[in-house]
């Protein structure tokens, strides 16, 4: 269907410009229109991809700050573990869409609400892995540190945390990948990101957008997973053996 040339209606009517039409691939909604994807990459896909990364980074960063602090406290004060575990486990079990819809009633339809939900989901994994990692430090190392005169804080910083690092990194890796997945759902409540493109596609039925947005999200998740694995191996070359299941 060719686009109409500039239409001038009867006096007083609007000018309807030629909007340019669409390629036959797009108009007939074929499986994947590469030219449309390329043409719209920088205006549609790239901003959403960046947004998605931001969402994830903020969620994992804040989650890590909270969970890390909590894990250290739990490490020193055992009673703290149970309430925090149960709280974060409870938050984690609620299916994501349900949790986001519940939060919206309280804090509205915006990115802040989404971040609250996303942070909640990271807490359990990060807390559990950090604590497991700390507890897995060989007691002999701790005793040796004390024998050398290190204070508890120095022991924590120079011995326990470095040895716990592989487990902590595994936790960050799982949390990151999980957050990318959840962030796609968060778009339903205004978070933006690649999920927004998926919901746009649901609204428009445009197959190319379904496929492109889905593939981008998957590629992002797998790419970050690989990057974090490599990062972990680079920083702790001494521990190739698996501790926590990864």
């Amino acid at each position: 269907m060719s686009a109409p040339a500039e239409l001038v209606l009867a006096a007083g009517g609007p000018v309807i410009p030629n909007f340019g039409g669409g390629s036959s691939c797009v108009v007939q909604n074929h499986q994947f229109c590469l030219s449309w994807f390329e043409h719209n990459w920088s205006s549609v896909f790239e901003p959403r991809l960046v947004e998605h990364l931001e969402l994830t980074a903020i969620a994992v960063g804040v989650g890590m700050a909270i969970a890390f602090t909590a894990a250290i406290i739990a490490y020193k004060q055992n009673w703290f573990e149970t309430p925090f575990s149960l709280l974060s486990a409870f938050l984690y079990t609620i299916p994501s869409l349900a949790l986001f819809e519940l939060l919206v009633q309280v804090t509205g339809i915006n990115r802040f609400t989404a971040e609250i939900g996303l942070v909640s989901y990271t807490l359990l994994i990060l807390f559990r892995n950090t604590l497991t990692g700390l507890r897995g430090v060989p007691p002999a190392s701790i005793e040796a540190a004390h024998a050398m005169g290190l204070t508890p804080r120095q022991t924590l910083l120079r011995v326990e945390l470095p040895l716990a690092f592989p487990a902590i990194m595994a936790g960050i890796r799982i949390a990151t990948v999980t957050t990318i997945s959840l962030a796609t759902v968060a778009a339903y409540i205004g978070a933006g990101g690649l999920g927004e493109l998926i919901f746009d596609a649901i609204q428009s039925g445009f197959k190319t957008e379904f496929v492109a947005a889905g593939v981008l999200a998957i590629v992002l998740a797998i790419a970050l997973d690989i990057v974090l694995v490599l990062l972990q191996r680079a920083i702790t070359p001494w521990s190739r053996r698996r501790l926590a299941p990864t």
Binding site: S85, P95, T178, S181, V185, I198, K207, A217
Partner: protein, 234 residues
């Protein structure tokens, strides 16, 4: 039909919840069933042969990383909407865990037991069926359990693909009100917990007594671990 609180909404709409839950469970179990039929025998077989460890690990890593809505999205783009098409997406999401667990379970069976069985003259098939599988059963089952709870949680998103289920209630605040959204959300959480609990009991049943662990710390860990597996990667 609006009510002021989730509980009365639930009680006033029992048939609605019944229908949606039935659809939700039907979709979930069908997907699990197919994924089980494909992935568990494959994993068991590979583990028995001690081959394909790289495949199993890679499938595990990639499967864990797949964003569920993205897989559903690609499914809509390629297959369209509807029950069967949503099922395909859920099968893809459920498979990796079951495959990897089945592989690791059989691969990791104590080789002394296997050698002893062979020494007694058992055929490889008998070894598999009478020695390896029983010992591997707990871990295989853990994979089924993880996958089932994950699919039940993820089936919430089926509403976007015309697959029905409890998600229909959650996204329809205009019709069902806040009370409905809360009731629907709680219903799915309860459903997930219920299946997890049910399967935990079954898992306890298939775990040989010496391998069971009790103790308060382990129980807290178990709760934490269970809900960690429950939520999984959505």
């Amino acid at each position: 039909m609006r009510s002021s609180d989730p509980v009365s909404f639930f009680l006033n709409n029992l048939s609605l919840f019944g229908d949606k839950t039935a659809a939700h469970v039907e979709l979930s179990l069908a997907s699990i069933g197919v994924a089980f039929a494909i992935c568990v025998p494959l994993g068991v077989w590979l583990g028995h042969l001690h081959r394909g460890s790289f495949l199993a690990i890679s499938v595990s890593n990639i499967g864990r990383a797949l964003p569920s809505l993205a897989v559903i999205s690609i499914g809509i783009g390629i297959l369209g909407i509807g029950f069967r098409n949503t099922m395909v997406a859920l099968i893809i999401l459920a498979g990796p865990v079951m495959l990897t667990n089945a592989y690791v379970a059989v691969d990791g069976v104590d080789q002394d037991a296997v050698q002893a069985a062979r020494a007694m003259g058992m055929t490889p098939l008998s070894v598999l069926l009478r020695v390896e599988l029983p010992l591997a059963l707990p871990l295989i089952f853990a994979g089924i359990r993880t996958a089932t709870v994950y699919v039940i949680a993820t089936a919430t998103l089926a509403t976007f693909a015309g697959g029905g289920g409890l998600g229909d209630i959650i996204v329809n605040e205009p019709t069902y009100g806040t009370a409905g959204v809360v009731a629907g959300s709680l219903a799915i959480a309860v459903l997930a917990f219920a299946f997890d609990g049910l399967l935990a009991l079954v898992q306890l049943g298939v775990t040989p007594a010496p391998l069971r662990r009790q103790g308060r710390r382990q129980r807290v860990d178990a709760i934490v671990e269970a809900s960690w597996e429950t939520g999984g990667r959505r």
